[in-house]
């Protein structure tokens, strides 16, 4: 559709030495002057500079241009710059079109003549399409001043506190009975070796006491609808069977409960009751009844907890409850899962009692763990020799090709703790030591000075068949020291596996529910690896912590603060603009086949049953174009990427 007679200005940029001399800029300008509707064509060294933009503004005002083409770099670089210049000069910013003659031409074409010919085509295409540009506008939508944080580990806690401190209402949703996540299980944290509980629990308490934070523990997000600024999040509170409003947290129910099961929090190294709080500093301290194992629920008898609870808080009839929260933004902080080393049978995990995963070691070493923090073997004696194996499940094409980033550092922390607590000899088997953090390399040097044996080589096998009789009953670690090219057989009492990190269970479902894509390894995708590390392709949904990829506590806290910062910045602004380049569906052309609804990855299209046509929700649409491609009658189209515009563009290049 032509809205007025087009009068086009074409500006070809030299980009210093980036475009010219590879592209003969003067030649392209001369060519542009011959094109239909072109009123003026110029070139300049840097179009994006202030004088460059001034040319455009001046020509629009003086020559009455109503379409502007800049042939320069990628629209990702400067489309906004030039659109703003157009707006400033008084024409609709969507009357601007960029021709990319740098990334797509001068940087990637060897022959100068070829590059110039290609640049002419690109300019012709931009001119041809711009004739059919339409003035577009976007709408402003108010945002809800609240944040939902999914996951209550250190990432979720940090993000929640940051946003709550800024004055926004925050809801934390945590599926476990307590917040705290993995960090609550740790004893010491590298490289400074401060006690995890000492730095973690004050933050947990702060969350519990913060007037702007509502905790939803033992809860899950059921569904998310809506769009940036206006999400509708349904949270399911699973029944605790303990009324939090009555419970005083005295713990008598746990004491009196006669039934025990293995403790998930203690990595199944010890037992917990069936009415329990996972750990002493749990927030909230209201216990839950494990329905699957509770004697009353399974056999219909017992009720010991109810009998002894003076507050009358035990409620076997409690039902799950679904509540709906209106949220302006969502922070995903669903964390990770430790790799299960069972498939690596050569390391004997599950076969040999003295082979531990890193999380098991964390509990073993923890003052609230099964041995009250004493490093003891299953026979009650301290180990005299300990092996630590790096990269278990990481940097391994059979399991995870990526580096889990934290294992080197925690393995060296283990070495230090073993040396400190038991004086045992420690042998570390590594591929490469990765210690690129503040004070990390220094920590590496420190443990070497503490006499830890560092062996560069991937362990081939852990076996209970000793080389000599005296080592009977011990484990033997077999590995090649690749620095000395010698095969070692090291008898040890205890083996610690530095298992890698993998995406948390259920993150695929979370991804689908939120429309956030995951990468090949299952981690959530950030919008841009460098420039938008906490945003996602879904506006208003941000990432914090390990759900985006393995990272240590300092990085997690930094990223969580960043995610909260982004979320708060969105809320503080108060409104969001809808995109202008989005789908529209012509109701006169729509056949009502619903194909577009099925292909829309953002659930932005609904069906109007009375008119029997598909309708686009402008706030949800991201303008991806799936609907336009799928619709055979072109009832669905993308503004600024209409069939007409694309056809004209192609024709200018092909003919």
């Amino acid at each position: 559709m032509k809205y007025e007679k087009p009068s086009i200005g074409v500006y070809v940029c030299h980009c210093g030495m980036n475009i010219s001399p590879k592209v003969d800029v003067e030649n392209v300008v001369a060519f542009a002057e011959t094109l239909d509707h072109v009123t003026v064509a110029r070139d300049y060294k840097f179009m994006c500079s202030s004088p460059g933009q001034e040319f455009i503004i001046k020509d629009i005002r003086e020559k009455g241009l109503n379409r502007i083409i800049v042939a320069s770099c990628s629209p990702r670089m400067h489309e906004q710059t030039f659109r703003k210049a157009c707006e400033q000069a008084g024409i609709n910013p969507h009357y601007f079109q960029m021709a990319n003659i740098r990334e797509q031409i001068s940087w990637v074409t060897k022959d100068s003549a070829e590059a110039t010919a290609k640049a002419r085509d690109q300019v012709a295409a931009a001119v041809a399409r711009a004739v059919y540009h339409a003035p577009l506008t976007s709408r402003e939508i108010k945002v809800k001043k609240s944040v939902v944080v999914i996951g209550g580990g250190i990432a979720g806690i940090q993000a929640a506190l940051t946003a709550a401190e800024a004055g926004y209402e925050v809801h934390i949703v945590e599926r476990e009975p307590s917040i705290g996540g993995h960090m609550a299980k740790f004893d010491k944290t590298f490289p400074t070796l401060d006690c995890a509980a000492c730095i973690m629990t004050p933050k947990m308490v702060e969350v519990a006491q913060h007037k702007n934070i509502t905790l939803h523990t033992y809860s899950e997000v059921d569904s998310v609808e809506g769009f940036v600024g206006n999400f509708k999040v349904c949270i399911r509170h699973n029944p605790r069977y303990v009324d939090a409003s009555k419970c005083t947290g005295c713990g008598i129910c746990t004491t009196k409960c006669p039934s025990k099961v293995l403790s998930e929090f203690d990595q199944r190294l010890t037992h917990r009751k069936t009415v329990y709080s996972p750990f002493p500093q749990a927030i909230p301290n209201t216990p839950v009844i494990d329905r699957d194992h509770c004697i009353y629920f399974t056999k219909g008898k017992c009720r010991a907890c109810k009998k002894f609870c003076e507050a009358g808080a035990i409620d076997f009839n409690q039902q799950e409850e679904v509540i709906e929260i209106a949220a302006g933004s969502i922070i995903v902080a669903t964390g990770f899962k430790a790799f299960d080393p069972t498939p690596l049978s050569q390391y004997g995990y599950g076969r040999y009692p003295e082979v531990y995963t890193s999380l098991e070691f964390e509990r073993l070493n923890n003052a609230t763990g099964p041995t009250a923090g004493k490093l003891l073997m299953k026979n009650g004696k301290p180990p005299e020799k300990v092996a630590i194996i790096h990269c278990v499940g990481s940097r391994d094409s059979r399991y995870h090709p990526y580096c889990s980033r934290v294992c080197c550092m925690y393995s060296m922390k283990f070495a230090h703790l073993v040396r400190e607590k038991t004086g045992a000899e420690v042998w570390e088997f590594y591929i490469d030591i990765r210690s690129p953090g503040k004070l990390y390399e220094e920590f590496y040097n420190r443990i070497q000075e503490e006499g830890v044996h560092m062996i560069r080589g991937r362990v081939a096998e852990v076996t209970d068949i000793p080389e000599t009789k005296k080592d009977e009953g011990r484990l033997t670690v077999v590995a090649e020291n690749t620095l000395t090219r010698r095969v070692l057989r090291v008898p040890v009492d205890m083996v610690l596996l530095g298992v890698g990190l993998e995406p948390a269970d259920g993150s695929d479902a979370v991804g689908r529910m939120l429309g956030v894509q995951r990468d090949a390894d299952g981690w959530f995708n950030e919008l841009h690896a460098k420039l938008a590390p906490v945003k996602t392709a879904m506006n208003g949904i941000f990432l914090a912590g390990c759900c985006q990829g393995p990272k240590d506590i300092p990085d997690t806290v930094a990223q969580a603060s960043a995610a909260a910062g982004e979320a708060v910045s969105l809320l503080a602004k108060g409104t969001v603009r809808t995109l202008a380049e989005i789908s529209y569906i012509d109701p006169d052309l729509c056949s009502g086949c619903k194909t577009c609804i099925e292909v829309c990855p953002y659930t932005a299209i609904s069906f109007d049953e009375s008119r029997r046509v598909a309708v686009v929700n402008e706030a949800l649409c991201k303008g991806c174009g799936s609907c336009a491609a799928a619709c055979p009658s072109s009832a669905a189209g993308i503004r600024h990427f209409t069939d007409r515009q694309i056809m004209e563009e192609m024709e200018a290049i092909l003919l």
């Binding site: 194909t595 292909v599 799928a630 009658s633 069939d643 007409r644």
Partner: protein, 368 residues
């Protein structure tokens, strides 16, 4: 084997079929029956919606002619559920198209009784009108005389899906001497219950049917393979494709005749292809001349991209082409390749998702 009913024709095939359809109305099994019948003004059988039992005697759904694929007419009475049960007598390609249109939400099949014809083919309209005007008993003669069956149109002659799929009841003709009897096969529970309601005794299908079906299928497969391979030689490059469609007048008859072209308005009638004179002049100036109408190759390519997965091989696009371009041959050939690629068969199953709507990470890795 499906329960089978044998109806005597006593030399009057059309009457026997009409008699069966009449019972659907008198026994109140259906509120209306859609079946082809000649009109008062022409012998060409048109889809006709019957509600009066005495008028349905005029129906002649086995007449070897079909002016178009009736799925499009069927959906005009099935757009939404009216609360009325409608029986539809359709050819297999028409049922296939109807199923595709139902997947595209263009109709509801919830309250229908589908009666499929075991189809021995249709003649082109002109051939039929000439034969029928000379032979008032053409329908009967067609099913008795194999020589007459050679006059079916070229798409029918290569049709390997002549047996209805997805029908409740099939009208069976292969291996059934038309002067003696016709078969009714109950393909679904609903179909069986109708036959029982009408008081038919079910038995087994005559053994000779299997043999004859296989023989016909083998013949058709051979003809199809020959035609498609010949077509491939004529259409397997863009230049050849352009030459194939060189005589296209841009009349869009093929699109109108196509039962699975379901758009309310074709994109080729929208602004997208309403070029400004500057565009045509620019095109002309590149080579010094340009043929008008423009975009005819683009039109066929686009239509192929839109419907290749759903093409039911009815051949009506060829039948309506004023330039006698064998449109169907190339569509059937490409459709077969596309459908094989996605393991998709239009009309096979209402619950089978259209390939475009299935996200499969491995799609595209196998190559064509």
């Amino acid at each position: 084997m499906h329960p089978f009913v044998i109806i005597k024709t006593d030399g009057h095939l059309s009457n026997a079929v009409a008699g069966f359809l009449k019972k659907l109305l008198t026994e109140q099994i259906a509120d209306a029956v859609l079946a082809a019948a000649p009109t008062p003004y022409s012998l060409l059988p048109m889809p006709t919606l019957f509600t009066a039992p005495d008028l349905i005697e005029k129906a002649d759904p086995l007449a070897p002619a079909a002016p178009f694929n009736s799925a499009r007419q069927a959906i005009s009475v099935l757009k939404h559920d009216t609360g009325k049960r409608i029986a539809l007598v359709l050819r297999p390609c028409e049922i296939r198209a109807l199923i595709e249109l139902a997947k595209l939400k263009q109709c509801s099949l919830d309250n229908t009784l589908l009666i499929g014809i075991e189809c021995l083919g249709r003649m082109e309209n002109s051939v039929y009108l000439e034969s029928a005007s000379q032979n008032p008993g053409l329908t009967q003669a067609f099913y008795e005389d194999p020589d007459l069956q050679k006059h079916i149109c070229s798409s029918c002659a290569i049709c390997t899906r002549f047996q209805p799929v997805h029908a409740d009841i099939s009208l069976c003709l292969v291996g059934m001497p038309a002067n003696e009897c016709i078969g009714l096969s109950a393909e679904t529970e609903a179909g069986l219950s109708v036959l029982k309601q009408l008081g038919f005794e079910t038995s087994e299908a005559p053994a000779r049917r299997e043999d004859q079906i296989h023989r016909l299928l083998d013949e058709r497969k051979a003809s199809k393979a020959a035609l498609l391979s010949e077509n491939k030689d004529k259409t397997d490059s863009i230049e050849k494709f352009q030459r194939y469609f060189a005589d296209c007048l841009n009349c869009h008859n093929c699109r109108v005749a196509c039962p699975v072209c379901y758009c309310r308005e074709c994109v080729f009638l929208t602004d997208v292809f309403a070029h400004d004179p500057e565009v045509l002049l620019r095109r002309a100036s590149k080579k010094g001349m340009v043929k008008l109408p423009a975009d005819t190759t683009m039109f066929h390519m686009t239509r192929m991209a839109h419907i290749a997965h759903a093409c039911v091989a009815c051949g009506h696009c060829s039948s309506v082409c004023p330039s006698h371009i064998p449109v169907a041959d190339v569509f059937i050939r490409v459709a077969e390749e596309i459908q094989k690629l996605y393991d998709y068969e239009p009309g096979r199953d209402l619950s089978e998702a259209i390939p475009l709507l299935v996200f499969d990470e491995n799609t595209g890795n196998e190559g064509i």
